[in-house]
């Protein structure tokens, strides 16, 4: 038996199994289906909230370009901008992330950041190119979908407003109603009105500024008498004025900012009182302050030119109008600042606070300059640079912008490099 088996080759039929080889290929359409379903669910769950905000001015908002920011976080975009039926207001539809739902209440406010580029807010200069951003501030209240937006940051709200009159000698025309009144850097009130009036008989020009001070912001200790805020404020100011409190006209940032009211205690201010005038009590003023004071002290030629130059530069930057002389102005500014340095010893103490605030400004100036530069460079190289010929308004404007960046940087560098000499001047005096 064993021999026969060895001699005859064994033949068996191969086992047949259904091939499963092409099975794996179905993973491809299944994966595709999975992706599609996942994307569908994702887009359904991320469906944004439509919110309407009515503005006074579109100020360069555009659909799908303008962002909505909440605490520095991008939470949505503008989906459409259209004129309201009344023909006056602008209705913007915002497409906000779904997680903003609970923050949309009647107390929530929207404002346009960068709608009014200004040198007091160097970061806003970027919006000359990039357009404005809508900023959302959450507040309390019932759920809402329709809002009224403002052109700038909503003014600070004050609990109590006690009006006072201030008469400055300097130019107050550029002062914004609603701009803050500060005391040692703290906001204690706001400007209520600025008016210009001329007495035809005497030929006297007066520019009364009405400021509203908030007594609660003073956190007055050892409060005596009633809680009648007007009386309390008057009483406090009486004492403070006797100790040298004066109102001063300041520019923030120095040189190019818009005028603001600053309360300051000046030790050698001399005698003065809170005078009860016809309408409101009047807070006495001190001349100048900051650079203005310098101008007065140094008097004649060089410093006055600085002011002129700077004003010229500012005007140019603001208008973005064309003028290749900008660089000359900067050079001139540099030279005059150098001259200023030599005469600074006398004015040392008054400059110190100015320098401090300049320092703060320098960084933001430099950042702005960097932003503008990057912007212009990105734009220029976006499609591979080409030689530019000076025609076309916007092209010129951008050239101007680059120049502006350079000017701002020069200014920033200068101020940054030379504070030691200012400080030395202070030590010397």
């Amino acid at each position: 038996m064993a021999e026969t088996t060895a001699a005859e080759p064994r033949r068996t039929l191969a086992e047949m199994r259904k091939s499963r080889a092409p099975g794996w290929i179905w993973a491809v359409p299944i994966a595709a289906l999975g992706i599609v379903i996942w994307l569908l669910l994702r887009s359904l769950s991320h469906r944004g909230i439509d919110v309407t905000v009515v503005f006074e001015d579109a100020a360069g908002m555009s659909a799908n370009g303008t962002k909505v920011m909440y605490r520095g976080l991008n939470v949505g975009t503008v989906s459409s901008v259209a004129l309201e039926d009344d023909g006056v207001h602008i209705r913007a539809h915002l497409d906000l992330n779904a997680d903003m739902q609970k923050l949309l209440t009647t107390g929530t406010r929207f404002y346009l950041q960068g709608a009014q580029p200004s040198f007091s807010d160097p970061a806003s200069l970027k919006s000359i190119v990039a357009g404005p951003t809508i900023v959302m501030i959450a507040g309390p209240g019932a759920p809402a979908r329709h809002f009224r937006g403002t052109a700038g940051e909503p003014p600070e709200t004050f609990a109590v407003k006690v009006p006072y009159l201030v008469r400055f000698q300097g130019a107050v025309g550029g002062m914004q109603v609603g701009s803050t009144v500060t005391l040692r850097g703290f906001t204690v009130g706001e400007v209520s009105s600025v008016t210009l009036s001329v007495d035809a008989r005497t030929g006297q020009i007066s520019t009364p500024v009405v400021v509203s001070l908030d007594p609660t912001r003073f956190h007055i200790r050892e409060l005596t008498g009633s809680h009648d805020w007007v009386a309390v404020m008057n009483q406090t100011l009486d004492t403070l004025v006797q100790h040298g409190l004066r109102a001063r006209l300041m520019q923030t940032p120095p040189l190019i900012g818009s005028p603001e009211v600053m309360l300051e205690v000046i030790p050698d201010a001399g005698m003065a009182q809170l005078t009860r005038g016809a309408d409101y009590p009047e807070i006495p003023t001190a001349e100048g302050g900051g650079l203005q004071d310098l101008t007065r002290k140094l008097g004649q030629l060089p410093v006055k030119e600085i002011g002129d130059n700077v004003r010229e530069i500012t005007a140019r930057l603001k208008a973005l109008s064309s003028s290749p002389q900008l660089e000359d102005s900067i050079k001139q500014l540099d030279r005059t600042l150098r001259e200023l340095q030599h005469t600074v010893h006398d004015a040392g103490p008054q400059i110190a606070p100015t320098i401090a605030s300049i320092h703060g400004t320098v960084d933001s100036l430099r950042k702005t300059a960097g932003d503008i530069d990057a912007t212009a460079a990105a734009a220029k190289s976006a499609m591979g640079g080409a030689a530019a010929s000076p025609d076309g308004n916007v092209q010129q404007a951008l050239h101007e912008l680059t120049e502006a960046a350079r000017a701002i940087r020069t200014l920033a560098d200068y101020i940054d490099q030379h504070p030691e000499s200012f400080l030395r001047g202070r030590q010397g005096s």
Binding site: I25, L39, A382
Partner: protein
């Protein structure tokens, strides 16, 4: 006429006349092609509905959808370019891959409705005209051009497009047309007594029909069968003359213009290549040179040569010419890369006076060159060269 031995496993049958493959079975499978076609159709939906990529600069961000490029072209009055891009990049990919999936699914499920042959014929005709893969390369070039200076992120639409385009190429690679045709309707043996000179082969599905069926519909795919397509040479000639005429404006006029810092900068095809080269993207520069300058010129020159060959009854380099014809017919669609590039980056570069891009005169002329030469090479029948060389009815 060629008899094919039945192929076992991987391999290819090759025509002894022109050295071109007739049947290839390696790496081909109806199931794989069906799976790829289905996945392509599925992925085309998000690719069309979601943003391909987005760019953000200066605190602004811009997104590019397939449709936004078309819309930008349409709004800028480039109607022809807008329509062509819509058809090649949106409509036909959907139509073609849906039809392919349906046909392959029917074959696999052993259902043979009467329209199956006609539907498969259309998927074959539309193969070269549906261009998700070409559009993907266009996106890649557009992405590179923009990302050289700005930060671009690829969004989900873009990812789905990449997958869809790759799968569409895979479905092309795995599809064995002859097997599908045999599955739709098996080939009949030649009726006895008829010699091979008395039959015609359908140019679409290669079904052999008696010569009496001249000008009638092919029983398998419905295409009109004829010994040779009529007026093929004159139509091809007319189209390549038009192509030559348009080739000049396509290269002289700018394809796109950019407003850079308020100044209008035109970009001809050559400028685009130089830009890519300067940006260090010379491989893409070479690619654009090939697709936008070399291929159209090759097509026009090649087809001109073939027509001349037919007319002069030339017997020289027939195999080379036939191979060149197949090359021209195959690569012609890739010339659309440059136009697709424009439609991808135009919606991205919309930063007002700082930097904004738009299509220009050259684009219309260029896409017309591409389309006309594609039609010309589709209509031309390379066998005419052999006919002419080998005398009347070889």
């Amino acid at each position: 006429m060629q008899d094919l031995p039945s192929l076992q496993g991987g391999g290819a049958a090759v025509c002894p006349t022109c050295d071109h493959w007739l049947e290839r079975t390696s790496g081909r499978s109806i199931t794989a092609a069906l799976a790829c076609a289905l996945a392509t159709v599925l992925l085309l939906f998000p690719a069309n509905l979601l943003p391909l990529m987005s760019v953000s600069a200066l605190g602004m961000s811009r997104q590019s959808y397939i449709s936004s490029g078309v819309l930008a072209l349409w709004n800028a009055q480039w109607v022809i370019v807008a329509l062509m891009v819509t058809v090649f990049a949106i409509t036909l990919p959907f139509v073609r891959f849906t039809m392919l999936a349906v046909v392959l699914a029917s074959v696999r499920l052993n259902r043979r409705p009467s329209w199956l042959g006609r539907a498969f014929r259309w998927t074959i005709h539309l193969d070269v005209w549906s261009m998700p893969d070409v559009f993907l390369i266009g996106c890649a070039v557009g992405y590179s051009r923009v990302s050289a200076n700005l930060s671009v992120t690829i969004d989900w639409g873009g990812r789905c497009l990449i997958a869809a385009a790759l799968l569409s190429m895979l479905s092309r690679a795995t599809l064995d047309r002859r097997t599908v045709w045999r599955a739709i309707a098996p080939e009949q043996p030649l009726p006895s007594g008829q010699s091979s000179t008395h039959v015609i082969s359908c140019t679409t599905c290669d079904l052999v029909v008696p010569a009496e069926a001249q000008d009638e519909g092919c029983p398998r795919c419905g295409a009109r069968v004829s010994v040779r397509r009529r007026y093929a040479t004159s139509i091809t000639l007319a189209l390549i003359i038009a192509g030559f005429a348009l080739y000049l404006p396509a290269n002289i006029y700018p394809m796109s213009s950019d407003t850079q810092l308020g100044q209008l900068v035109p970009h001809r095809i050559v400028d685009g290549i130089m830009e890519l080269y300067r940006a260090g993207l010379w491989p893409l520069g070479i690619l654009i040179f090939c697709t936008s300058i070399a291929i159209p010129l090759l097509k026009l020159g090649g087809l001109g040569w073939f027509l001349l060959s037919v007319r002069r009854r030339s017997q020289h380099r027939l195999v080379l010419k036939t191979r060149l014809y197949r090359l021209i017919d195959e690569v012609g669609r890739w010339s659309n890369v440059d136009v697709f590039t424009i439609s991808v980056f135009v919606p991205l570069l919309q930063f007002g006076a700082l930097a904004s891009a738009r299509a220009d005169t050259g684009a219309t002329a260029f896409i017309l060159v591409v389309v006309l030469t594609m039609i010309a090479s589709r209509l031309f029948d390379p066998r005419l060269m052999w006919d002419a060389a080998l005398g009347p009815h070889g």
